[in-house]
Structure formats: structure tokens, C-alpha cells
């Protein structure tokens, strides 16, 4: 989490959100990732999302594990609480934090090593529990900090800088999440901010587990010819299937939407996300349909992007557990103890 302090001066006419904060207020330290790293573009998108959604900085919890991706929470929203945990264990920490206090917005930033290798167990179980969080995977198919080993998301035939091409089946986080019943599943590309920003907005507002798998090329170890996670390869095989527009609460829908290929989804805060299906036959509410489509396009070498699946009816973890709304830390200690005299009754059972 290396960081360099950033000067805090901004132009007087810079735009402010409803809280009177500027986008500069949502920045973090200067990134120490490599110049051109896809992750920095994701960081920029997150800053814009949180600014646009008027989220109070201290009501955002930034969770991460270990790796290049997991360093990035230091680079956005300085005034938020961050928890840079141990490798692959961000989901469990987020589960515990969320259990104790549901009033914060939880954003987890992870990578393909953190989520699909060392942390694959926690990744799948957070989905099963439907933890209310936005889970971002900055997916580059490679281990950066240890200098270029393949990760579990590397495609068959993808070439490393040195050595032989990968021969093992990749783990695709999107189809994995689909099979486990995640309730909001999106894929995007760090180089496509226009698509990415509304997808992350929807993910933050969605009640339940939302996955945003972002192809985020590693310029140092996986951006060469023959790599399937390079900028060039991603641009060439990139395919928008369902794009999303974000419509704030009480905001009127001004754009024209084509009948049959558009689908509004109302979020819990009254805002809407409008799904724009580029492929009119695609049904993002059908798990089976989505799975079939994804496999077919994957076999054809395409990178399918957009909001690929949504289920806005399944209960999230808190509602499944039946917990009180009050953060546990705010419950008075007296209310957590059996009433006076009750101990005597309890002890009778042991005589």
C-alpha cells in the first residue's frame, strides 16, 4: 500500500455533489502501480461512482486482500475506512463487518489470484450467503507483485512473456458466480469507462452480492502479443451484450429506449438502472440462458460484457439471518444481558 501524498488543491468552479463534495474529495493517495495499469482506470471509475451517488465517505468501507488490485483502496476515497486484510480473505472480513453493521456501503476490490486461487473458497461462500456488497475483480490473468506467473483466470493458449503457453482450464468468475446464485453479475473492461461506471453504480446499489469482473490488463507482465488479457486482445474480442444506464431517484428518463430490448430495474433507494440489450434475444434474468450464452460466446473466443445477470428478489444475508437493523456496536450492553434475576432461573437447570 505504498502511497505518495497528493496536493489537495482544486479548481474553484469544480462540480460539487449533493453533499457539497468535489470529486477531489473522493480521491486517495497517488497510485504506485505501473503507469498504464488497468487498475488505475478502475480506481478512477470507482471515484466517479461514489461521487455521483453522493455517498458520505465515512459510510463507505473499502475492503481488500493482497495483490496489486488489493492495494488500490488506498488510492480512492481517503476519508473512508479501509481494511486491507490477508491474502484471499477479504470476503470473510466483509461478511463479519457487514453482519455487525449493515448501514455502510461495502466495496471489495480483489484480483484474479486473490479471488480465484488462494481465496476461491471465501469468494464462493460470500456469494452463497448473498452478502450485500460490491465485489470487484480486477482480472489480468497474471500475478504482478511476484513477477508474472499465470493466475487461475489465464486462458488456454495464452502466452506468458517467457515460457510455455497456459494449458489449464481457466476459472471464469462470471460463470462461477452464475452457478452459485450471485444476484448481480457484470463483466467489463478497465478501458471502457462509459460502460464501467454505470455497472459499478448498479452493483453498489444492488441489495445482495454483486460481482463486477473487470478485464484490467497488466502492462508489465501480460500485455504482449499472444496474451488473451492484453489491451489489444480485449479490444478486439470485446462484445457488449447488455449495457446499463443509471437513472438517479426522481430523475426523469430522457433517453429513448427501444421497446423489447430495454428493461428498467428499480433499486432500493428509488433509483433505476435501465438495461439496454444490444442482443435483443439475451435474457439477463435467466440463469440457464445466461450460462448457455456465455459458454457459446466464450467458445467463439468472445469476451462478453455488460450486466449479464440480475435477480433483485432474493434476500440478502441480513434479511436471511433476521438481525436487527441497529449496528451491533450501538446496542446497549444492558440490553444484551438476560434480565436481572434470570441467572438464578438458568442455573436451576444445572442442579
Amino acid at each position: 500500500m505504498s502511497y505518495i501524498a497528493k496536493p489537495r488543491i482544486s479548481h474553484p468552479s469544480i462540480r460539487k455533489n449533493k453533499l457539497g463534495l468535489t470529486s477531489r474529495d473522493y480521491e486517495g493517495a497517488v497510485s504506485t502501480l505501473c503507469a498504464g495499469c488497468g487498475h488505475d482506470s478502475v480506481t478512477a471509475a470507482i471515484i466517479q461512482v461514489v461521487f455521483d451517488l453522493d455517498i458520505e465517505p465515512h459510510m463507505l468501507a473499502k475492503m481488500s486482500g493482497i495483490g496489486c488490485s488489493s492495494k488500490t483502496p488506498a488510492y480512492f476515497v481517503q476519508q473512508s475506512h479501509g481494511f486491507n486484510s490477508v491474502h484471499g480473505r477479504m470476503p470473510s472480513v466483509t461478511t463479519g463487518a457487514n453482519t455487525a453493521n449493515r448501514h455502510l456501503t461495502y466495496i471489495g476490490v480483489s484480483g484474479d489470484g486473490d479471488s480465484l486461487s488462494i481465496g476461491v473458497g471465501q469468494f464462493v461462500h460470500a456469494i452463497r450467503r448473498n452478502v450485500n456488497m460490491c465485489y470487484i475483480i480486477e482480472n489480468n490473468g497474471v500475478y504482478g507483485l511476484t513477477k508474472g506467473q499465470f493466475s487461475a483466470s489465464a486462458d488456454i493458449g495464452s502466452k506468458p512473456k517467457k515460457g510455455l503457453p497456459n494449458q489449464q482450464e481457466p476459472i471464469d468468475p462470471v460463470s462461477t458466480a452464475l452457478s452459485l446464485g450471485a444476484t448481480y453479475i457484470a463483466r467489463s473492461f478497465s478501458g471502457d469507462k462509459a460502460q464501467l461506471v454505470p455497472l459499478i453504480k448498479g452493483a453498489l446499489l444492488h441489495k445482495g452480492f454483486s460481482l463486477v469482473d473487470i478485464i484490467s490488463p497488466c502492462v508489465t507482465f501480460n500485455d504482449h502479443e499472444g496474451s488473451t488479457k492484453s489491451y489489444a486482445h480485449t479490444r478486439e474480442f470485446y462484445n457488449h451484450v447488455v449495457d446499463v444506464d443509471y437513472i438517479a431517484p426522481f430523475e426523469e428518463i430522457t433517453a429513448e429506449y427501444e421497446q423489447g430490448s430495454s428493461m428498467p430495474v428499480v433499486m432500493h433507494d428509488g433509483s433505476k438502472i435501465m438495461l439496454r440489450k444490444i442482443d435483443a434475444d439475451y435474457d439477463p434474468t435467466s440463469r440457464a440462458g445466461a450460462f448457455k450464452y456465455l459458454r457459446e460466446r466464450f467458445n467463439a473466443g468472445e469476451i462478453v460484457t455488460g450486466l449479464l445477470y440480475i435477480d433483485d428478489e432474493r434476500k440478502e444475508m441480513h434479511d436471511l439471518m433476521g438481525n436487527v437493523d441497529t449496528p451491533f456496536a450501538e446496542l446497549p450492553m444492558e440490553s444484551l444481558r438476560p434480565p436481572q434475576g434470570e441467572l438464578e432461573k438458568i442455573l436451576k437447570r444445572y442442579r
Partner: protein
């Protein structure tokens, strides 16, 4: 030798045949007669079919540990019959089911063997396979009641309480009691065992297991999040917490829960959830056993360095590796004290019995909050799963939980700037904020190198400053942990020092050694880091027998490391076969050491 109210009854059965309720009935009846009693369960890592034993020690002196003899054996398991017969002390009694013939060679002439056709009696009277098996267990309780003079009215009273809602079962169970009782009275004419006679020595006492006591302690401590992965022998701790919470943790207005129990996918996740919840200010805990600690170790080091409270109950079992999951040991002392890579050390509490399991639970949460660090409570299978007679628990309604140095929104508002790891008070404990409290209170929690301001660092001086401050905090912990239990018998230069469940056997051994004019002083440590009182105690003696239940003398090693002691002064007496230690072991070992020439 057995005597009035000094009798050991051991019941050998087959796992999964429902003998637990019959054994519990017998143990409770003796307790209700005002006679102190101990219940120990020796069970296999199995659901059905393997041998299991329950041992009831009737002890007028109120000793807590296992006895070293068996006076009455109820041999209900054909598989272990030979071994069970061999275990009976000379002059003792053996009861067996005489429904089926038994080889003549299976006999001893120095004990009294009593055959009762338990199966036949129950098969004649009851229908249904399961009922017959259950009633056969109740019937042997009747036999023992007849032989030892246990009050049938007390047994009836217990059945009435147990089956208050199923009246027909009271009559059926009483009938089974009488099948055994009457048969014994009518047919048995040999020498009778010593009697159980009414006393008044159990007033203001209860019989409870340590895991249930810890669970109740967690409820009183205000724990709200329990995350766990099921593991023997800790499972009943969460079962207990769940049961108490169902009763006492439902918000009357909303009907919702003021607690959360999360069954994690493994221990790595369980401890991650605990740290996440504690970071948010909830009191969170996880119950586990040795293998769980191994898996949690990386995270425990994180909690130490990032300074997040957590309470971990380690109900120790026999290691190494899977070891013997249903046997007891104290073999995780070192792995808990130094869990995780790097320079780490952790606060440990050592309850000696269920009473301390109850009192140490709120203490553990208070210490974890005060010190902002993981605190581990190390009980063991013997404490956690066996039935101990202990003084009634008390709760002081004026008790104020120590939530430690947590800043409120008002506190933060008034500050110029908040820095997470500054030692403002000089006790090595910084102030913390909870997420969502105030924008100025935000900080970045990390396991990577950080400065006292909470910023990332790779700077040698800044890194070391924080690591050194953690050592200041360690010395503060030494002041805050519970003091040892110390007892001086005479002006002796030798002493016994023990930990946790070693307490019962050692105290009984002190009595027995005293009868042989071997006087020893006594110290039982209750926590790590060891308080100065422990060092002073050791300093006063020439020889200290360190009694513990592991092979590698882990407590002794920890004492030497923590206090930089002269090793030859600490003599190890080690018991580590998985069965709880008894007083006989301690007496024999001490006498052996004395005869070797070490002065006592």
C-alpha cells in the same frame, strides 16, 4: 478403598445407545442428595457403535478430578467386557446383563459379580427396539440405586422435571427403574457396596460443563457475533450460545435477533468474520480447537499487528495433527502463545473449571477490547465437555464492560486530527474509531508495515517504533490479566505449579501428600503473559514441579521464555495420554522426584 460417599461408578456402553440420559439421571440424583459428584465421559470419535464410558465419582471431599480406581463397573458392552472387568478395584463390584450366557472363565474371585437380566426384563415389559434399549439403560440406574441406597424419591423428582410435558414417560421410566431396583433387592445377597448417604455439601452449587458455561459467559459479555467452523470438542459451545440467544436475544419490539451466528466455510473464514465484526465494534468470538488455531494463525498475527480485538475459545484436544479428537490435552499452549509468523505473542486465559469458563468469558472480551488484540481462552475437552460441580455463577448487575479506547463522534469532532497508532497515554494502547462514526475518524487498517500515524511504511525507524510500542502494550497486558491462584501450606522450598484443568488433580494430590508429611506450596497460573506474582512465587522456591498435560513441557518452556528463568529449577511432571490426569499420577511423580534426591 471405597467408603460411604466415596464411590466410583463406571458405566461401559456402546456409543449411540442413548445411555447419556440414564447416566445423567444417576449423577444428578446423587447431587440432589447433597453429595458432591464428578461426571467424566470417555467417548470415541464416532457416531454409533464404538465403546464409550461414563464415570461417576461420588466424592464427599468435593474433589474435582477423575479418580484412579473403579468401585462399581456396569459392563453393558460385550466388546469391552474383559477390559472392564480387569479395571475393577479389588473388593469392587461388577454388574452385567445376564440375559445371555457368559463364559465361566470371565470371572474374578476378588470382586463381586452381579448378573441382572436387564434385556430380558425390559423386553418383557416394553415394546419397540429403541424403547427397550433406552429403558435397559434406565434399569441399570435402578440396580445401582438399590445397591448404593440412592433415594428413589429423588430419582422420581428428576424424572418429573425432565418429562413435565410427557407424563406417560415418567411412569414408564419409573417402571424401568423398578425393574432393576426390585430385581437387585430380591435376588442379591452378597456384600453390598458403600452407600450414598444424604449430605448437605452441594448447596449453592451446580453441575455444568465448561462449554455451556463459556457460552453463557459470552451472552453476559454482550457478544453479538459468533462465527465458527464445527470442530470437536468445541461444538457444544456454539450450541449453547445459540440456545441462550434464542431465549434472551430476541428484540421484543421487532422480533429480530440481537446476535448473529455464522457457520463459516472453514476456520480461516471464521476468524476473518470475527475480525471484520470486531473492527465494526461488535463483540465477536469463535470457538475452536487445535487444528482450527493452526488454520487461523495467519489472521491471528494480522489481528495482533493491526490491533483488532477478538476472542477465541480453544477447547484443546489431543494432538498432533488430527490426534485423538475426543481426548483431552493441554498441548496448544505454545502454538497459541506465539500463533502466526513474525514477532507475535498473544494474551491467553486458562480457566480451570466451568466456573472460570463463565467468569473468564467477559474478562476475555474486556481484555480484547482494552488491549485491542486477540485474546484466547484455553480450556480443554475435560473442562469443556465433562460435568463439573462448581459454585453457582454470579453476575454483578453493576458490572460495567470495558469497551476500551473507542472514540465517539463527539470525541473525533473535537480533535484536530486522528491517528490510529499513536501511544497517547503511554500504556502502549492507541485509540481506535469505528467505521461510520465520523469522516475524520477514518483510517486504513493494514497488515503491512505502518507508521504510528497509520500510514504505509517501509522505513526502518517508523516500522520499529510501532513494533516496540506493541511491546509496551504487552507489559500493560501483564498488569491487566488475572492474577494466579497461590496457596502456601507451610514454609516449604518446593512447590507445584500447574495450569487449567490440572487444578483438581494437583489440589487433591497436595492433600494426599500432606497426609504423608510432604508439604508443597501451590501456584496455578491463570493467564499469559504471566504476572509478576508468578515470578515472585517461583523465585521463592528451590524446586517447582510444573504439572501439565502435554509431552513437551510447554508451560515450563513458556515460563522460562517469559521470565528468563533458570531451567533446572523447573521440574516437569507430564501427563499426556489423552485421559484427564488424576491425583495419583501427581502424587507418584512427586514422590519419585523426591526419592531421586530432589528436596521437598
Amino acid at each position: 478403598m471405597a467408603g460411604t460417599n466415596d464411590i466410583v461408578i463406571k458405566i461401559a456402553t456402546v456409543n449411540g445407545t442413548g445411555s447419556a440420559s440414564a447416566n445423567g439421571l444417576l449423577r444428578k440424583a446423587i447431587f440432589r442428595m447433597g453429595v458432591p459428584v464428578v461426571g467424566k465421559n470417555y467417548f470415541p470419535s464416532n457416531i454409533q457403535g464404538l465403546p464409550t464410558w461414563y464415570e461417576i465419582r461420588v466424592t464427599k471431599d468435593g474433589y474435582q478430578s477423575r479418580s484412579d480406581r473403579v468401585d462399581i463397573m456396569v459392563a453393558m458392552n460385550v466388546q469391552t467386557y474383559i477390559q472392564d472387568m480387569a479395571a475393577v478395584a479389588p473388593g469392587g463390584w461388577l454388574i452385567y446383563d445376564s440375559t445371555w450366557p457368559r463364559g465361566r472363565q470371565l470371572d474374578r474371585d476378588d470382586i463381586t459379580v452381579i448378573g441382572v437380566p436387564l434385556s430380558r426384563l425390559c423386553n418383557e415389559r416394553f415394546d419397540g427396539v429403541r424403547t427397550r434399549i433406552l429403558m435397559k439403560n434406565i434399569a441399570y440406574v435402578g440396580v445401582i440405586a438399590a445397591l448404593t441406597n440412592i433415594d428413589l424419591e429423588v430419582i422420581k423428582g428428576l424424572l418429573e422435571e425432565t418429562f413435565a410435558e410427557k407424563q406417560h414417560l415418567i411412569a414408564a421410566n419409573m417402571e424401568a427403574i423398578h425393574l432393576g431396583y426390585d430385581y437387585a433387592v430380591e435376588n442379591f445377597s452378597g456384600p453390598t457396596p458403600p452407600r450414598v448417604e444424604k449430605m448437605d455439601a452441594t448447596r449453592r452449587h451446580i453441575v455444568i460443563d465448561g462449554n455451556t458455561a463459556s457460552a453463557l459467559g459470552c451472552v453476559y459479555a454482550g457478544a453479538t457475533v459468533g462465527a465458527w467452523y464445527p470442530i470437536t470438542p468445541s461444538t457444544s459451545l456454539m450450541d449453547g450460545f445459540r440456545a441462550f440467544c434464542a431465549e434472551y436475544r430476541i428484540d421484543p419490539e421487532s422480533g429480530k435477533r440481537t446476535y448473529a451466528i455464522i457457520q463459516a466455510e472453514d476456520e480461516l473464514a471464521a476468524i476473518g468474520m470475527v475480525f471484520g465484526a470486531s473492527w465494526m465494534g461488535a463483540r465477536a468470538f469463535t470457538p475452536t480447537s487445535g487444528p482450527g488455531i493452526s488454520l487461523m494463525s495467519e489472521f491471528i498475527g494480522y489481528g495482533y499487528y493491526a490491533e483488532i480485538p477478538a476472542v477465541i475459545f480453544n477447547v484443546q484436544r489431543t494432538g498432533p495433527s488430527t490426534g485423538m479428537p475426543t481426548r483431552t490435552q493441554q498441548s496448544d499452549i505454545l502454538s497459541c502463545a506465539y500463533a502466526s509468523h513474525g514477532d507475535t505473542k498473544h494474551v491467553l486465559l486458562f480457566p480451570a473449571d466451568p466456573h472460570e469458563c463463565f467468569t473468564m468469558a467477559p474478562q476475555a472480551f474486556d481484555l480484547a477490547d482494552r488491549l485491542q488484540t486477540p485474546v484466547m481462552v484455553l480450556s480443554d475437552l475435560d473442562i469443556g465437555m465433562n460435568d463439573w460441580m462448581v459454585p453457582e455463577f454470579e453476575w454483578d448487575e453493576s458490572y460495567v464492560h470495558d469497551r476500551g479506547k473507542v472514540l465517539s463522534a463527539e470525541d473525533i469532532e473535537g480533535m484536530e486530527a486522528f491517528y490510529r497508532y499513536l501511544d497517547v497515554d503511554g500504556d502502549g494502547i492507541p485509540y481506535r474509531t469505528l467505521p461510520g462514526t465520523h469522516p475524520k475518524g477514518s483510517y486504513f487498517t493494514r497488515g503491512s508495515g505502518h507508521t504510528k500515524y497509520g500510514a504505509y511504511t517501509e522505513n526502518a525507524t517508523d516500522y520499529q517504533e510501532v513494533i516496540d510500542r506493541l511491546d509496551v502494550k504487552w507489559e500493560t497486558a501483564r498488569q491487566l490479566v488475572p492474577e494466579p491462584e497461590i496457596a502456601y501450606s507451610k514454609f516449604n522450598n518446593a512447590a507445584i505449579l500447574t495450569v487449567g484443568s490440572g487444578n483438581g488433580a494437583c489440589k487433591e494430590a497436595l492433600d494426599r501428600l500432606g497426609e504423608q508429611n510432604v508439604g508443597l506450596n501451590y501456584c496455578r497460573v491463570k493467564a499469559f503473559p504471566f504476572s509478576e506474582a508468578v515470578r515472585e512465587f517461583i523465585d521463592k522456591h528451590e524446586v517447582v514441579y510444573v504439572v501439565e498435560q502435554n509431552r513437551d513441557a510447554q508451560l515450563r518452556a513458556l515460563l522460562i521464555l517469559d521470565f528468563d528463568l533458570r531451567p533446572d529449577k523447573l521440574v516437569s511432571l507430564l501427563h499426556y495420554n489423552g485421559i484427564p490426569m488424576n491425583a495419583g499420577f501427581v502424587v507418584d511423580k512427586v514422590l519419585e522426584e523426591i526419592s531421586k534426591g530432589r528436596a521437598a
